[in-house]
Every structure is written in structure tokens, then in C-alpha cells.
Amino acid sequence: FTLSIYLSIYLSIYLSIYLSVCLSDSAGQFFSSGHTNNWAVLVCTSRFWFNYRHVANTLSVYRSVKRLGIPDSHIVLMLADDMACNHRNPKPATVFSHKNMELNVYGDDVEVDYRGYEVTVENFLRVLTGRLPPSTPRSKRLLSDDRSNILIYLTGHGGNGFLKFQDSEEISNVELADAFEQMWQKRRYNELLFIIDTCQGASMYERFYSPNLMALASSQVGEDSLSHQPDLAIGVHLMDRYTFYLLEFLEDIHPASKANMNDLFKVCPKSQCVSTPGHRTDLFLRDPGSVLITDFFGSVRKVEITTEAIDLTDPIKEVEERPANGDVHKEMHSYVDQLPVSEIIHQKPKQKDWHPPDGFILGLWTLILLVFFQTYGVKHLRHIF
């Protein structure tokens, strides 16, 4: 008798769990992650040819993120130097990420939003906090809202508590944490994944204190992140180890895959990376095992079927061709001359202003005069003049 009671209780519990699973399944897509759009901010902070690998890192992550669905309008790509068109590049217009030149990550539809000297700490913080001057175009802004999942990837040279930008300035971990807090205050993100591939990268996420942040770094404090392999034809190292194995992992991800963050944490163990990758999930509200990789790296949209339609019965009004006053005349439009070509061709050479002689000529004559007066003495000048 008691057995049957236990059985019935067990069955009812099982059924209720099953029912709740069914109910949540229909709305499951909505409530599993809570985000409706994805953004990515990918930053390479180093200049100069020998930092080729940092640009290749960033471009490889850019490729993967685009492949998994995030459009260019939602990616802010900051590259501090142009490796593809660098004078020292033996294969111009390419950036390779694998030796033997297997994969050209530069391609022909790269959209770099901040290039060269525009990649500064100030611009990076302005992008994150949204404090850009009003004239900034849309493609250079991070227009996220409270339902955006943002992926932030930084790579370059770093140290204990700072990251070097362009070999001339640095951003500290406190500034980064404050920037994220300001983003949270203004609800500019729903969840944020922060990946950093630099030496002593774990120091950069030590100071975070805002909710819903997950961070991964390629090395712990006191360790260096190492590069992967040099290419003898190009002459520099092509990728860093952590990003190389991260990319290998991402190659297996497709937009419908169900891999979760725990798999991402296992990327590049110490045997492959030599440094110890670290991660931080204490500020993240969801369990990392339930967070899909495509929640950050891809852009899987939620969709709902439209069940209603409005019945419209009015016929279409004819759009008026002529305005009421009939006064509008068509203007003739023409292209503006970029350069006043006719004026340039027929220009007369400009009269150059006369300048007194300077520099070398002046010095030479002074020397000659000095020697002359030295030799002959002043009183003998009477004989000459």
C-alpha cells in the first residue's frame, strides 16, 4: 500500500516536471538566454610589423564571428596597424593565420571601423561607454541595448594590470572595470563575454564588479602568452597559441550548434598553450553550462510567428504628383568639381618672395670674410678700396 503511494507520488512528480519542461519548451527559446541581438567589439592594440600575430588574431575572431551570423553593422573592429598593406608584407593584401599560408583572414569584405592611430584608449572607452561626439557615424558606435549580448576581444601586449595601446599608452584594469560598470548603469548590455589574449591577461579581469560578466584570459598573472608558429616566408609569428586553439574550437561551431561555455573553458590546456588560461564566472548569473557559444559568438535570432493581421479595406490613395501651389521647379543637378582642373592646368608659376640667404651660404661667407680680415688686418683695407 505504501509502495503504491510512493509510486504515485513519484509519478506525479515526474509528470509535473515533464509538463513544466513541455510548457517551457514552447517559450523556451525566449527564456533561455534573454537576449535579442549580438554585438562584438574586437580590438587589436599593437603597432608595427613584428606584431603581425595580433592583427591576425583579431581578424580570425572577426571571421568566425561573421561566419556565425553577426553582421558588420554589429561589429566594431579596431586594428591598430595595417598588416595587409604594410611595406614589409611579402604577400600584399593578405593576412595569414596559419603557416604555409592556408587561410587568408583578410579577405575582401573586411570592415575596419577604427584603424591606425584611431585605436586609442580614449576611443576604446568612448565606444564602450557611448560618449562619442555627435558626428560619429553609426558604424563606429556600439548601439547596444539592454537585450544585447556583447563579445569583447582584446589582444596585444599586456602586463600586470594594464594593456598597452600602440606602444605609447595603456589602459588599466580599474579603468576597464569602471567602463563596464558605466555600461551596466545605462543597461547597455544583457550579458558580456570578455576574452583577452595577452601576457598576464588574467590581471585585466581581476577588478570587474558589474553583474553578468564572464571573462576568459590566455594566461595567469606572472605568465607570458606565447605565440604559435612563425612562417618562414613572411618572417613573423602568425598567431598566438590561445587564439589559434580557440579558432580551432570555433571552426566546429555552426549556427545551430549546442556547445556551451564549459567547452570553451577547456580550450588550450597547459600542454598546448604553455601558459594557463583562466576564466572568471562569479559575476555571471546563469550557469556557464547552460550558456551556448552562439549566444555570444553568433547571432541566433528569436522568431515568433505572426498570428494576426489587420484587415485593411481602403483603396490606396493616389499620391499627388503635383503639389498644391505648383511652384516647385526641378533643379538641375550636376556633380561638383572635385579639383578646379582648368585652373590648375593654366596656372602661371607663382612669384616667389625673395628671402635673404641663410644657413650654409651665410656661414660660408662669414668664414671667408673672417679669414680675409684676419689675414690682411683692417688697416690694410684702405689699399684695397
Binding site: 535579442t36 553609426r138 537585450r147 548603469q185 515568433e304 485593411l312 490606396i316 490613395k317
Partner: protein, 550 residues
């Protein structure tokens, strides 16, 4: 009189120390100060408590047969109902409903059998935010049997007295019976606790009772001063179909009235484009039972991304963009139908994505005729297309169409696509959302500026903050008074000012000086100067003490 060497040295040390302390230190302090204009911090703290009071005017009209003439004289003219709710601890919102009882026994409207709503006559143009409820007797044949409440297109509702109030009841009992029912009508037509909580989702850790409201809050765009709408026609097969759509006329006739009605809420800008050779990116499956191609619900999520890369954007501002796509399948994959999750048919053949827009699939194989000669000229039926897009636009803008409670009959919205009371609902929730967001922005800005002492606060920022505070106070006052239009306007001004102040480019705190760096800067400057002075002062003091001893 000559001072001795030692005396002169002592005087020199003393005077240098005096100059350093009296002149030097204040000078250094003033020159290293950052300019910080004054902010109304106390008022901001007041506003941060966010005690909102929402009041709606409801006018109740009794029809003939509901109250006896004697009772009519005793009906009180006004009665207020208050309801206090605390949300998340520190927010208290009072719903204050002023019921102005009005016993106009106009019954000529209720004599015919046709549902002739008084709003069709120019009886009263109710100002926005207010309602008129007509109470009709139980035996009235105006409403169908099982319907107790009818909600019209304008701001009126018909309420049928329940069967227990048939005859011989006192006025108090009648009023007591009506109050909760009128409150229910108000919750559907104006605001309810769930709506207000959803509007405050920024401030509140949302733990709702029903999951529909999470989906609603995720689907609708956040309040913004403007929106950009783009209509795109996707033609993947121009060799087979030559499509003509009168988008300008359709927008003018069908969409513009809705947007004009919504103009107090936001500005809209519309543009349109046609894209050729843009495929959907998902392979549809051929369904032999319906002899048509189908896209099932799971693959719909992957349709949007490949298309989005091709959609240009005309937007020069930072306003959110809504995309509405009309996809005409190519001749090989016609007709194409969308299937729901349980493989059911979708009559509108359209789907939408929260905070992005909508896609509708328009099949044209019916236009081929007997012997089609490609390319076929096709005129798209814009009324049908715009009907679907209008419904999606309503959902995306936050005009909730949640199912009404049982016994309610809601009139279909007119050709504008938006009933007046739905507009009111939207305005209520937008006002509350704007006020809450502006308050949060200002409060966090004040906190930020307080914490970081290095940021310069310019005069223009202080002015923006002050004007935001003023607008917020006015908005809260107007919400209390029940003037919804003004409240929304002030709340929009408050949002604009607060966002401008928060996102001002000059507020970037770049300089973080850890204490050891500060010491490293000042010590080489001040130490070489201070050490001799300090030592001579110490010598003076020790000599003075020696002299005192001997």
C-alpha cells in the same frame, strides 16, 4: 643693526616656510582643482525614490433602467479610489482613480438593436488618459449573451450590470458591485500592475508571474525619441518575376495614419528599397501533402542573418531601425509556406523577430495565368501585405494585444490600426518608462561624478542635468494630475536632457592615478624644497627649547 648670521638664517627659514604654507599650498590646491559646476544633488536624491502617482479619470454614465430616479439624485458626484503598490521595495506607486459619477440618462443611443456606440456621435471627445464607461441594464440586447463588457475603438466601454443587481437593490450595493468591474475595465484599457512593472524593467529585478510579459518586454523596442522603418522587397528571381509594388501609396494610405497617431510617442522616418538576387539562406523542404515548399519554425531563426548583411541602412541617427521584408519566392520554390512549431498552417505567412522587424512571404504563383511567359508582371496586393506589416509594427512598438479577460469583447481597431485606448495604454507605459529611465540615468550620473573627483563638470552638463530634473518633476506632477499628453511630453524632454548629459563626450574619465603614482610625481618636486626648510625649522625649535632649559 646687523643681525647675526644665525639669526638671519633662522628668519630666512621661517619666512620661506611661511610663504610656502600661506601662499604656496592654497595656490597649488586651487590650480590642481578641476572645475565642477554645481549639480542639484538633493533634488536628484528626492527623485531617485520614484514615488509615482498615476491617476485616470473615468466618467460613468448610467443608462435608463439601471438606476431609479430617486437613486439618481443620491449618486455622489466624484469618488476616488486609491491603490498602493510597492514594487521592489523602494518604489511606491499609487493608482489613484477619480471616478466622476455622472447620471445622464441618455437612452436614445441604446434603443436600437444595432450596436450603435455613442462614440460615433460627437458626444464627447475624451481627452487622452480618460475613459467613459456606459452602464447598461442587464436585460439590454445591445451586447451578445455571453459578453458583459464591450470595449470600443475610442475611449469608451459598455458595461452590463450583472444579474444579481436586477431590481430593488440599494445604491450602495450597486456601487459596490460596479467598482471592481470598472477597475477591471480600467486594467484592460489603461494600465495594470503588470504593465507598470514591465515598464520599470530597468530598475526592477523582474520576477514576473506570467512569462508572457517577459516575452512582451523583450519583443518591443525600448522607448526612443524616434524610429526608422525600412520596407524592403526581396526578389531573388527577377528572370521569372517582374514585381511592382506601390509602396509610396501604400505607406501613405495604410501606415502613415498609424504613425501620425503615434506622433506624440515618437518620430518615425520611413524608407523603402528593392533587393534583387537575395536568397533566404535556408533551403525549404517540399511537403508532398500540401504540394508546396515549407519552412518550419526552427529554420526561421537562421533566415534573418544572411539577409541582414545585404540590407543597407539609410539611418544617420542612432535611432533603432525596424526592417520589414517582403519576400517573393523564386519560381522553383513556389509556393512557399511557413509552418508553425506544431506544423500548423500560418494564415499570414509571416514571422517577426523581437526588436528587429518582420518578414512576410508572398506567393505569386497564383498570378501566373494559363501560359506564363517569364518574366511575369505581378502587381502586389499591398492591402494584404500592409495588413500583416501593420500587425507586426503594432507588436514591435509595444501595443500589447494580450487576450482580454473572459466576457470582454474588444472592437476591432479601425483602419489606422490603433484604437485610442491602446494609444493611451502605450502612452501610460511610455511615460512611466521614460520617467524611470531618466531618473536612473540622472542618479547614476550624479553618483559617478561624485565618486570620481577628477572629472570636469562643465556648465552645459550642469544645465542639462538641471533641465532634466525640472522636466522630471513636471512629468511626475502631470501624471498625478492625470494629464497624460503633457506628462508624456515632459518625460520625453527629461529623457533627452538626461541622455545628453550622461553621454556628453567631455565626461570621459581617463585618468586613474593610483596612490603610489601620485607620490612618485609629487615627491621629486616638493621633497628637495621641503627638506631644508623642515630641518632648519627643527633646528630653530630645538635651540629654542635649549634656551628655555638653560
Amino acid at each position: 643693526m646687523f643681525l647675526s648670521e644665525r639669526r638671519r638664517g633662522q628668519l630666512a627659514a621661517l619666512s620661506i616656510a611661511a610663504v610656502v604654507i600661506i601662499v604656496g599650498v592654497p595656490l597649488w590646491w586651487r590650480t590642481t582643482e578641476t572645475y565642477r559646476a554645481w549639480l542639484p544633488v538633493s533634488q536628484i536624491k528626492e527623485l531617485a525614490k520614484l514615488q509615482l502617482q498615476l491617476s485616470a479619470d473615468v466618467e460613468v454614465v448610467f443608462a435608463r433602467g439601471t438606476v431609479t430616479p430617486e437613486q439618481q439624485k443620491k449618486v455622489p458626484l466624484t469618488q476616488t479610489q486609491e491603490e498602493e503598490r510597492a514594487i521592489d521595495g523602494d518604489l511606491i506607486i499609487l493608482f489613484l482613480i477619480l471616478l466622476i459619477r455622472n447620471t445622464k440618462l441618455e437612452s436614445k443611443f441604446f434603443s436600437c438593436h444595432v450596436l450603435f456606440l455613442p462614440e460615433d456621435t460627437a458626444l464627447s471627445e475624451s481627452p487622452c488618459g480618460s475613459l467613459v464607461v456606459y452602464v447598461i441594464p442587464e436585460s439590454s440586447s445591445l451586447l451578445p449573451e455571453d459578453v458583459n463588457v464591450y470595449i470600443g475603438q475610442r475611449r469608451t466601454a459598455l458595461l452590463r450590470i450583472g444579474p444579481q443587481m436586477r431590481v430593488g437593490k440599494t445604491l450602495e450595493q450597486l456601487l459596490a458591485h460596479l467598482e471592481p468591474r470598472i477597475k477591471q475595465v480600467l486594467q484592460v484599457m489603461s494600465f495594470s500592475h503588470n504593465d507598470i512593472t514591465a515598464a520599470l524593467s530597468d530598475r526592477v529585478r523582474f520576477s514576473p508571474d506570467n512569462k508572457e510579459s517577459i516575452a512582451d518586454s523583450m519583443r518591443a523596442f525600448k522607448s526612443s525619441p524616434g524610429y526608422e522603418i525600412t520596407f524592403s522587397l526581396l526578389n531573388p528571381d527577377p528572370k521569372s518575376h517582374r514585381l511592382h509594388w506601390d509602396i509610396e501609396g501604400a505607406v501613405q494610405t495604410y501606415i502613415q495614419p498609424l504613425l501620425t497617431k503615434l506622433s506624440p510617442v515618437a518620430n518615425f522616418s520611413i524608407d523603402s528599397q528593392t533587393l534583387y538576387y537575395t536568397m533566404l539562406g535556408v533551403n525549404p523542404r517540399f511537403d508532398t501533402s500540401r504540394s508546396a515548399y515549407t519552412l518550419n519554425a526552427d529554420s526561421l531563426a537562421h533566415v534573418i542573418n544572411p539577409v541582414e548583411a545585404r540590407l543597407g541602412s539609410n539611418a544617420a541617427s542612432s535611432n533603432p531601425v525596424l526592417n520589414f521584408l517582403l519576400y517573393v519566392p523564386d519560381a522553383q520554390h513556389s509556393p512557399l509556406y511557413i509552418q508553425g512549431r506544431k506544423k500548423q498552417e500560418v494564415p499570414s505567412n509571416a514571422f517577426h523577430s523581437p526588436r528587429w522587424g518582420g518578414i512576410m512571404v508572398y506567393n505569386v504563383n497564383g498570378f501566373y495565368g494559363s501560359e506564363p511567359e517569364f518574366p511575369v508582371d505581378i502587381n502586389i496586393d499591398m492591402a494584404k501585405v500592409m495588413g500583416v506589416f501593420l500587425a507586426q509594427l503594432r507588436l514591435l512598438l509595444g501595443v500589447q494585444s494580450s487576450t482580454p479577460p473572459p466576457g470582454f469583447l474588444v472592437a476591432r481597431c479601425g483602419s489606422t490600426g490603433l484604437a485610442d485606448w491602446e494609444l493611451d495604454r502605450l502612452m501610460w507605459s511610455r511615460s512611466v518608462e521614460n520617467v524611470a529611465t531618466a531618473t536612473t540615468t540622472i542618479t547614476s550620473l550624479a553618483q559617478l561624478l561624485d565618486q570620481i573627483g577628477n572629472i570636469v563638470i562643465n556648465d552645459n552638463i550642469a544645465q542639462q542635468v538641471s533641465s532634466a530634473v525640472t522636466s522630471l518633476q513636471l512629468a511626475v506632477a502631470e501624471l498625478e494630475a492625470g494629464n497624460l499628453g503633457f506628462a508624456l511630453q515632459y518625460s520625453k524632454e527629461a529623457i533627452l536632457a538626461s541622455e545628453k548629459a550622461f553621454f556628453d563626450p567631455s565626461l570621459l574619465h581617463l585618468l586613474y592615478f593610483p596612490d603610489d603614482q601620485k607620490f612618485a610625481i609629487y615627491i621629486p618636486l616638493f621633497l628637495p624644497m621641503c627638506v631644508p626648510i623642515l630641518l632648519s625649522l627643527l633646528k630653530i625649535v630645538s635651540e629654542a627649547r635649549q634656551r628655555l632649559e638653560c
